[in-house]
């Protein structure tokens, strides 16, 4: 062994401070120890997807700031008349409640998955998918209502044309994510129920699906805050 290589390896082993941190992170085989590669991949995908939603939301905010016509009052636009009384943002509040609840059932499903409880895991995942489908259903209702009131991508009776365009674009893109998530949950839940992961000895897929689901919820919180509450 050459003197140079030997010294290099020894400095690596006795590294201190910043070098020690680097040495820990860069050890062989895996950066994230005992982590399924799929989980790492999902995290990286979600990071990438975060940039997509951030670009959408920042573009929306820029447009809202520079729009030449007044921005519609979201509390009025998204109000429903129930029992003769107009309640602002009621539908969105219910939708948000449903979606956040679905994160709860998903977290329970992951927990039961790690306990190898096949039936309860599958049941909780189907419940999550049902709540997700309910969310998409209510979104479809909201879209229909707005379209009936004359909101279009190019104009709307309430104010700036960018309002309708950003609404359809951002909620549409998020709704697409929820729909994909529902499909993924149904597939994974079916595999759970059939005992596929018991045979493979690995329930990571449930947690990976859960990661995606929680992300979609988290994004909704930002859309809710920036689009509906602002």
């Amino acid at each position: 062994m050459s003197q140079v290589t030997k010294e290099r390896n020894e400095t690596e082993e006795n590294a201190q401070g910043w070098r020690a941190i680097v040495a820990d992170w860069s050890t062989d085989r895996e950066v994230f120890r005992h982590t399924h590669w799929g989980k790492a991949m999902m995290w990286i995908f979600l990071l990438s997807d975060t940039f997509i939603f951030s670009s959408f939301l920042i573009s929306y905010m820029t447009m809202r700031a520079s729009a030449t016509m007044a921005w519609p009052d979201t509390a009025e636009v998204f109000a429903l008349t129930i029992g003769g009384q107009s309640i602002p943002l009621i539908l969105i509040a219910i939708m948000t409640f449903v979606l956040i609840s679905s994160s709860g059932t998903m977290a329970l499903a992951v927990n039961y998955g790690y306990r190898r409880n096949r039936k309860v895991t599958a049941a909780l995942m189907f419940a999550t998918a049902l709540l997700g489908a309910a969310f998409v259903g209510m979104q479809a209702f909201e879209w229909t209502k707005l379209i009936e009131e004359g909101v279009r991508p190019w104009s709307n009776p309430m104010g700036a044309p960018q309002f309708g365009a950003s609404f359809f674009m951002i909620t549409g893109f998020h709704g697409l994510h929820v729909t994909c998530g529902v499909i993924m949950l149904l597939i994974v839940a079916t595999l759970v129920l059939r005992g596929h992961y018991d045979r493979a000895g690995d329930y990571s897929a449930v947690e990976i699906a859960g990661l995606y689901w929680h992300f979609v919820d988290l994004v909704w919180v930002f859309i809710f805050a920036f689009f509906y509450l602002w």
């Binding site: 062994m1 050459s2 003197q3 140079v4 290589t5 030997k6 290099r8 690596e12 680097v22 040495a23 992170w25 860069s26 050890t27 062989d28 085989r29 895996e30 950066v31 994230f32 005992h34 982590t35 399924h36 590669w37 799929g38 790492a40 991949m41 990286i44 995908f45 990071l47 990438s48 997807d49 940039f51 997509i52 951030s54 670009s55 959408f56 573009s59 820029t62 447009m63 520079s66 729009a67 030449t68 016509m69 279009r152 991508p153 190019w154 700036a160 044309p161 960018q162 365009a165 950003s166 674009m169 893109f173 000895g201 690995d202 990571s204």
Partner: protein
């Protein structure tokens, strides 16, 4: 998970049918070749377009079938194909796919099915792009930057259908890249073999790894921009469209922000420069080290420089927008951050030179291309210092100086590296050597040719000759010499174009008739040259994965029996019982 991927002993499924092996293949090497062939094929289209542009610029009026709108379409398609569909796809989809598993000692990517899907979706994006040539009105002529409002306004060539196919194709490409990029990043993070620490990886892998991460974070902005412009065009939205007069009439768009598009585009566009450059930096480091028989100078510094350049490249994007009318204080910030990037880049250049210093330099063809890269990259980098300063950039903006600069730094430089890399790794990929004499001719014509093409462009730019003009015509500030220079550039371009056929001829000749290459013709230390078979089979490593004991740069080690020590050769103390 109980075992790491490196310890996974589950037998691989080897496809038996021809279709399973070569068409719907999940083998990273086959996918890499599919990516490369497709990228080179579409790159040839862009090459032909560039010759057509040079014909028009060098000899205006001689070719009546090149109309102004055709010229603009050539410019736009040439730029977009070169940057996205050739360079990104070839460096990451091609070299990334082939090299990552072999260099880190993995059997394949972590998710081969999605890796396969990545290629087929990429092919779809290329087909949609090519469809743009055949739609009514032809492909878009908005310039490769696709700036609104002109990109989707009446009067711009291709504003009917060409822009739609372009935007749809970009969105599809980004989906394809995301599927591939997730694989490249996760494979490097989680699937290395025993002993392969991150700080023992060849710099090629480091470059591709960081570029893939950047792609995953930069392409989203382009994706969003493409979706929004599509909605503007197809659904009549006004994201990027202000109220304006078009063809003498007021449009019904209102209140959109064209500058928003520029920000989104360049938030992708500047990292994109480094997505193309970082793999080239990595590859060139390895070429220089192997062919100078010396360890790379300052390995850790090289790694950190790659990481820092990758990070900084996300906060410099608006240096493309000094003349866009944005707030002048932005210019101050972005000029500063832009010039700071010169520090890690200069570290890399010095380290390359110091690697060469007193090395045992073998002037074989891959090395010649690596050295040529140093020339073109330093030249392109220095003219970048001019353009990075706001006050110098403003008069030079939109002139041929810019064309000369970015072709030198991100067109020619990565392409020279790609040539070098193909000459270097082809013996491993195909198991055969090239005709060296032909390769030398190809090198010298290409290298001297690109200087003949791009150096005069700097001079034209300083004269104030604008870019993207169909013809200069009679203009008092443009002297006769500018027309002469344009003719000379065009002739050089045609010669360089013709020389590329030597390359393709040589590649095909070598595939069938080339002399057999041994497993390690260059005497390289990195892992991809230590495979049990050449070309490597499905699964790469036979029964047992290699174990790595050292970095990839043990060349000319004193007292060693050979002038290189492969990465999987144990240290004496490790083999002792």
């Amino acid at each position: 998970m109980a075992t790491t991927i490196a310890d996974d002993l589950t037998p691989m499924h080897h496809p038996r049918t021809w279709v399973g092996k070569y068409v719907w293949s999940q083998d990273h090497k086959v996918i890499a070749i599919q990516y490369s062939v497709t990228a080179i094929a579409i790159g040839l289209v862009a090459l032909v377009l560039s010759v057509l542009m040079r014909l028009q610029l060098g000899f205006p009026g001689v070719f009546p079938w090149i109309q102004p709108e055709n010229y603009l379409q050539y410019v736009s398609m040439h730029g977009m194909i070169m940057v996205v569909y050739l360079l990104t796809a070839l460096l990451l989809g091609g070299f990334g796919n082939y090299m990552i598993p072999l260099m880190i000692g993995a059997r394949d990517m972590v998710f081969p099915f999605v890796n396969m899907l990545s290629y087929w979706v990429y092919l779809l994006s290329v087909l949609v792009l090519v469809a743009g040539f055949f739609v009514p009105g032809g492909p878009t002529g908005a310039g490769w930057t696709l700036y609104p409002p002109q990109a989707i306004s009446e009067g711009t060539p291709g504003s009917q259908w060409g822009i739609v196919t372009m935007l749809v194709s970009l969105a599809i490409f980004i989906v394809a890249f995301t599927m591939g990029g997730l694989n490249y990043v996760t494979t490097v993070l989680q699937a290395r073999t025993r002993g392969m620490t991150l700080m023992r990886m060849p710099l090629t892998v480091w470059g591709i790894f960081i570029a893939s991460i950047m792609g995953l974070l930069a392409f989203p902005a382009l994706f969003v921009a493409a979706i929004m412009m599509l909605l503007d065009h197809v659904a009549g939205a006004s994201f990027f469209m202000p109220s304006m007069m078009s063809m003498g009439q007021a449009t019904d768009t209102l209140g959109g922000s064209p500058i928003l598009f520029q920000h989104l585009f360049w938030f992708f566009g500047h990292p994109e420069v480094y997505i193309v450059a970082l793999p080239a930096f990595g590859i060139v480091s390895d070429l220089i080290s192997v062919h100078a028989r010396k360890n790379i100078f300052g390995y850790r510094m090289m790694v950190w420089a790659i990481v820092i350049i990758g990070g900084l490249s996300f906060i410099v994007w608006a240096h493309h927008m000094y003349v866009s009318g944005m707030n002048p204080y932005f210019g101050f910030f972005f000029a500063t951050s832009t010039l700071i990037i010169a520090i890690p880049t200069a570290i890399k250049v010095y380290n390359w030179l110091l690697t060469l210093w007193r090395g045992d330099i073998h002037l074989r063809v891959p090395m010649l291309f690596a050295l040529a890269f140093l020339f073109t990259f330093i030249h392109g980098g220095l003219s970048g210092l001019f353009l990075g300063n706001v006050s110098v950039d403003v008069p030079l903006s939109d002139t041929f100086f810019v064309v000369g600069h970015f072709h030198m730094v991100m067109g020619v430089s990565p392409i020279l590296v790609i040539f070098g890399a193909i000459y270097h790794w082809y013996p491993k990929i195909a198991g055969r050597m090239w005709n060296q004499a032909l390769a030398q001719v190809h090198f010298w014509v290409t290298f001297l040719g690109v200087y003949a093409i791009y150096l005069p462009m700097h001079y034209l730019g300083v004269l104030g000759v604008p870019r993207r003009y169909y013809a200069l015509g009679e203009t008092s500030f443009i002297p006769e010499s500018a027309h002469l220079a344009n003719q000379a550039i065009s002739i050089a371009a045609i010669v360089v174009f013709a020389a590329q056929f030597l390359f393709f001829y040589n590649m095909i000749w070598s595939l069938f008739r080339g002399p057999k290459a041994g497993p390690n013709p260059w005497g390289a230390a990195s892992l991809e040259w230590q495979t049990p078979d050449t070309p490597p089979r499905h699964g790469n490593w036979g029964a047992k994965l290699p174990t790595v004991y050292r970095w990839a740069y043990d060349y000319s080690v004193p007292h060693a029996p050979r002038d290189f020590i492969p990465q999987d050769e144990p240290h004496p103390k490790d083999t002792a019982p």
